[in-house]
């Protein structure tokens, strides 16, 4: 039962691949490649819609409150302003996420293969 070197090498590489597959199935291993450009395009959609929807919805809620409470136009103005700010904040966050992912992509290209960990720096955008 002597193994020739070629066979042992192929077994070793099989072992390596099995370990890697197990790791990634457990969610420990690196994600399979950095986000693609379609992921970034998807985030662009997020950004655009949230910027528009937030003031629209908030304005409507304010208008409804005015309608019920008879305080026209104060709640409308207040909620519209809040909506504008919220839209800005959401878009800002989506943009930061986008930049972060773009950097991940660049890193991936630069170091060719070693992917950085998942969402490690997610806390920093809160500042």
């Amino acid at each position: 039962m002597t193994q020739d070197p070629a066979e042992r090498r192929s077994l070793q590489s099989l072992d390596e691949r099995i370990r890697r597959a197990r790791g990634s199935a457990a969610g420990e291993g690196p994600p399979q490649g950095a986000p693609s450009s379609s992921a970034l395009l998807g985030m662009a959609w997020r950004l655009a819609v949230e910027l528009v929807v937030a003031p629209a919805v908030c304005g409507y809620v304010g208008w409804l409150l005015d309608y019920w409470l008879g305080t026209r136009p104060w709640f409308f103005v207040l909620f519209l302003l809040l909506g504008l700010v919220t839209g800005g904040v959401l878009a800002y966050r989506a943009m930061q996420e986008m930049i972060r992912r773009g950097e991940l992509m660049d890193d991936e290209v630069a170091s060719n293969g070693t992917t950085p960990g998942r969402r490690d720096d997610a806390g920093e955008k809160r500042e």
């Binding site: 379609s38 395009l41 819609v49 937030a54 998942r118 997610a122 806390g123 809160r126």
Partner: protein
């Protein structure tokens, strides 16, 4: 001018394609629960997904055939998305995320077939999907973390005077989620299909000499629409993943 009238009839209302038609009228307790063309296409989408998955994996070969590798690719695609955005805690929710993605994708793609109906171009459908996600994620958050889940609305490292304003913004942005989620999908699908119909109307009304221009434009637009059909399914799913991540891991 009969020819003119005919062309106007052909370039009919571009919104006609979104009309709901009752196929089997059903009424339950005064509620209209008819089986409509919309329901028919949803059923069709589910059947198509089932056929796609089951027939593709029927043999389950080690070296996959083209069809089987398509099935495996879609599985891997969603699995990776979930792993990247939620991590190991998200694994129990994979079946839901995968079904959601495949359902939206197939609804969008079926809508690209001529004479078909695009389910996702109706805001009530996308809103229902988004509300399922929203309510589900909120429940998961409360079940997992109890009232600690509310700390999601309190940003960290913020000076105290600003805190009330930021909490209000966080709460508003949380409740805007289902609306932006549904409007994005619905608006994209409806705008695209309306545009296709409008340009198709131009083909007829511009006649045999100039009609080619909008026709060639339609070809390009159809390509774009297929990309958007995929992209919007993807965006809906990845946002679901991000919301799930918030609920499970309590950080943005």
């Amino acid at each position: 001018m009969p020819a003119r009238r005919e062309s106007e009839a052909l370039a009919a209302n571009p919104l006609e394609q979104f009309e709901i038609k009752r196929l089997v009228p059903i009424e339950i307790g005064g509620l209209d629960a008819s089986f409509t063309n919309s329901s028919a296409f949803m059923v069709l989408a589910i059947l198509a997904v089932t056929v796609f998955m089951v027939v593709g994996m029927r043999k389950g070969e080690l070296v996959p055939s083209r069809w089987q590798s398509m099935v495996e690719m879609s599985y891997e695609f969603v699995a990776n998305m979930l792993r990247e955005n939620v991590g190991p805690a998200g694994r129990p929710y994979f079946p839901f995320i995968f079904s959601l993605f495949m359902f939206i994708l197939f609804c969008n793609m079926l809508g690209m077939l001529p004479y078909s109906f695009t389910v996702t171009s109706h805001i009530i459908v996308t809103l229902a999907l988004a509300l399922v996600v929203f309510i589900g994620v909120t429940l998961i958050g409360f079940v997992r973390h109890g009232f600690h889940f509310l700390s999601l609305f309190v940003p960290k490292g913020v000076p105290a005077p600003l805190l009330p304003l930021l909490v209000v913004i966080e709460v508003l942005s949380y409740f805007i989620r289902p609306i932006s989620l549904s409007i994005r999908l619905f608006a994209n699908m409806m705008a695209g299909h309306t545009m296709l119909k409008v340009f198709a109307g131009f083909v007829i009304s511009m006649g045999i000499f100039f009609g080619w221009l909008p026709l060639s434009f339609i070809v390009a637009l159809t390509g774009l629409e297929i990309v958007i059909a995929f992209l919007q399914a993807y965006v809906f799913t990845i946002l679901t993943c991000l919301y799930l991540n918030d609920a499970l891991n309590l950080h943005h």
